[in-house]
Symmetry: C2
Subunit: 325 residues, 2 copies
DNA sequence: TCGCTTCGATTAAACGATTAACCAACTTGA
DNA sequence: TCAAGTTGGTTAATCGTTTAATCGAAGCGA
């Protein structure tokens, strides 16, 4: 079907080894012959067989990506960045969903290795204990997670949020998270509480423990801002407040985390913190590749985040025009 | 490292061919020996090398999935279903993002084939002309797209939406789409307009041509419902209406399409149409596998959709009960 | 008993690339 | 001039599996 090394070799009257060397630039081939071989290769439309190469070298050129839940709006953006980083290096991305239990995750890891992944990039489930897999692994979670490879600076993100709210005049903040078992969320909350200035008060509410108070009770308690640990939490909050007749941000401000695709589209736009996903993906991939070359795993890294200020914390003219026609 | 056929063969005093036959059940091996070989294989933790198998058989056990934009909230759910369907068959999923031009898409297709994908599942960009790739391909787009393999019944979905709105008493509907160049969206709009009863009027607005009128102008024009061709459009609309002080659905109803993860979480919940993604993924994969076995490609299929009624079209909360007893 | 089929297993040839080892022909230096 | 190194290539083994071809032994009908 496709031309192979042998076809080129025969056409040029040389051995397959010479062709292989010429194309890879590894052995000793005269520059002139090298060029001619390369020309012939492109002329024939030669494409090396990844299967054969993989069998011989033990490298498949594919890395596995394991996500807790592909459908969860937080991960596709990361997957996209990982795919882009891999593509830039000529690598493929085998995807797996560890939906369900940690056991399912372990299975997924095994499966990717069996399918020939050279290394793994994993966004682990909570409390994951990595089994020995025989291939390099990079973990993307939170700085406080043992074994973490690279992640966004979630604490800094929390601090940026609180600082921004302080500058906007807020003094009493309700911090809303989903689960205190999530390292990422606890890091973000820690960043927020640490950044509270002396004249500010913040209360932390975990939704898995207690529901959100009724919107008007929030106002009665003196809260002027809701700081969620995720856009996934903030967007429903925003609509809930609006549905109750409150004006955001005039009555109460809202912030999120992660800069979900919707966050820029809703009205008012959601103030949030954006991770540098391309940098994180690059870092994770670099770690895997370094380990593949028998280098020691690079030390854990933390990537700075960026505050995105939008309408839920700043009253723009437009919003006011719309609300007061 | 890992045990190979030869290791088992040596341990049992037979040839590797016999071991291969015993494990695959293909050649002629006595039942007794078969059992013993299989026991020994599991005892040693034997895992066949996919690379070697792929080289010999020409099948890698991996299928490629090409999405227009991984980060677009519509596709992760589909990716998850495809991954699940593939996993159930012991297949891997190589993912690629055709972000950018149709050329980028063509590149992505080529890349997946080179990386050894046995077949491809593609959600094509608009106006895609499939190049001959040498591997089976299944396309997931719209029933009206030439070459489409399988898709949701978008027309039916449109009809369900309009019928539901009619039963709720709506007579004047604004249908809001993004781009009239999208087959999926035009199919949905067609389903809606066809389902309009004689006493109903519907106007179609493409956001790429003209912006949404100011919320209060919509009311002034007599519209009582906004039917979007996507939750991606509907959710921003919902917040825009709420931000303008309108009550949904009391002042105006809103519907979407696709049942995005957020649609159930916002307040009020978004009435929408859910595709049977698992069925679509299964169908696409089946088509690819059938073609791989040299069967003709099965005829195009259309999968029924389901209407999900939520708060944006039904007033279920107490305040509404009070006002509309 | 002779031919013929069937059973159970072996042999050996692929699949397509990489790479260590080898080799002939030239350079070079002393 | 001769030993030693350099240059530019070739040979052949190897990665681990599948599978067509082969083969001895056993079973069987005539």
């Amino acid at each position: 079907m496709n031309p192979k090394l042998e076809d080129i070799a025969r056409a040029m009257g040389v051995s397959t080894a010479t062709v292989s060397n010429a194309l890879s630039g590894k052995g000793r081939v005269s520059e002139a012959l090298k060029d001619r071989i390369r020309q012939e290769a492109t002329r024939l439309g030669y494409v090396p067989s990844v299967q054969a190469r993989a069998l011989r070298t033990g490298r498949s050129g594919v890395i596995g990506l394991v996500l807790p839940d592909i459908a969860n709006p937080l991960f596709p953006a990361l997957a996209q960045s990982v795919e882009a980083a891999a593509q830039a290096r000529g690598l493929g991305v085998l995807i797996a969903d560890s939906r369900g239990t940690r056991e399912a995750q372990a299975q997924a890891l095994q499966r990717l290795v069996r399918q020939g992944a050279d290394g793994l990039v994993v966004v682990p489930r909570r409390g994951t204990q990595m089994p020995p897999l025989g291939v390099p692994v990079a973990m993307i979670d939170a700085a406080s997670t043992p074994g973490n490879t690279i992640c966004a600076d979630h604490r800094q993100g929390g601090a940026l949020i609180v600082e921004h709210l302080r500058l906007r005049g807020h003094r009493k903040i309700l911090i809303v998270g989903q689960s205190s078992a999530s390292r990422v969320q606890t890091d973000r909350v820690a960043g927020m509480t640490e950044a509270l200035s002396g004249d500010m008060t913040g209360r932390v509410l975990w939704l898995e423990d207690a529901p959100l108070p009724a919107p008007y009770d929030l106002l009665a308690d003196g809260f002027t801002a809701l700081a969620a640990t995720s856009d996934l939490i903030a967007l429903p909050l925003l609509t809930r407040l609006q549905a109750a007749g409150l004006r955001v941000p005039r009555d109460i401000a809202v912030t999120g985390f992660d800069n979900h695709a919707f966050s820029a589209l809703v009205a008012p736009g959601l103030t949030t913190v954006a991770q540098d996903l391309p940098a994180i993906a690059e870092g994770a991939l670099e770690s895997v590749l370094a380990q593949l070359d028998a280098h020691p795993a690079p030390p854990p890294r933390t990537v700075p985040v960026e505050l995105l200020v939008r309408g839920t914390t700043t009253s723009t003219n437009q919003t006011d025009k719309e609300t007061c026609p």
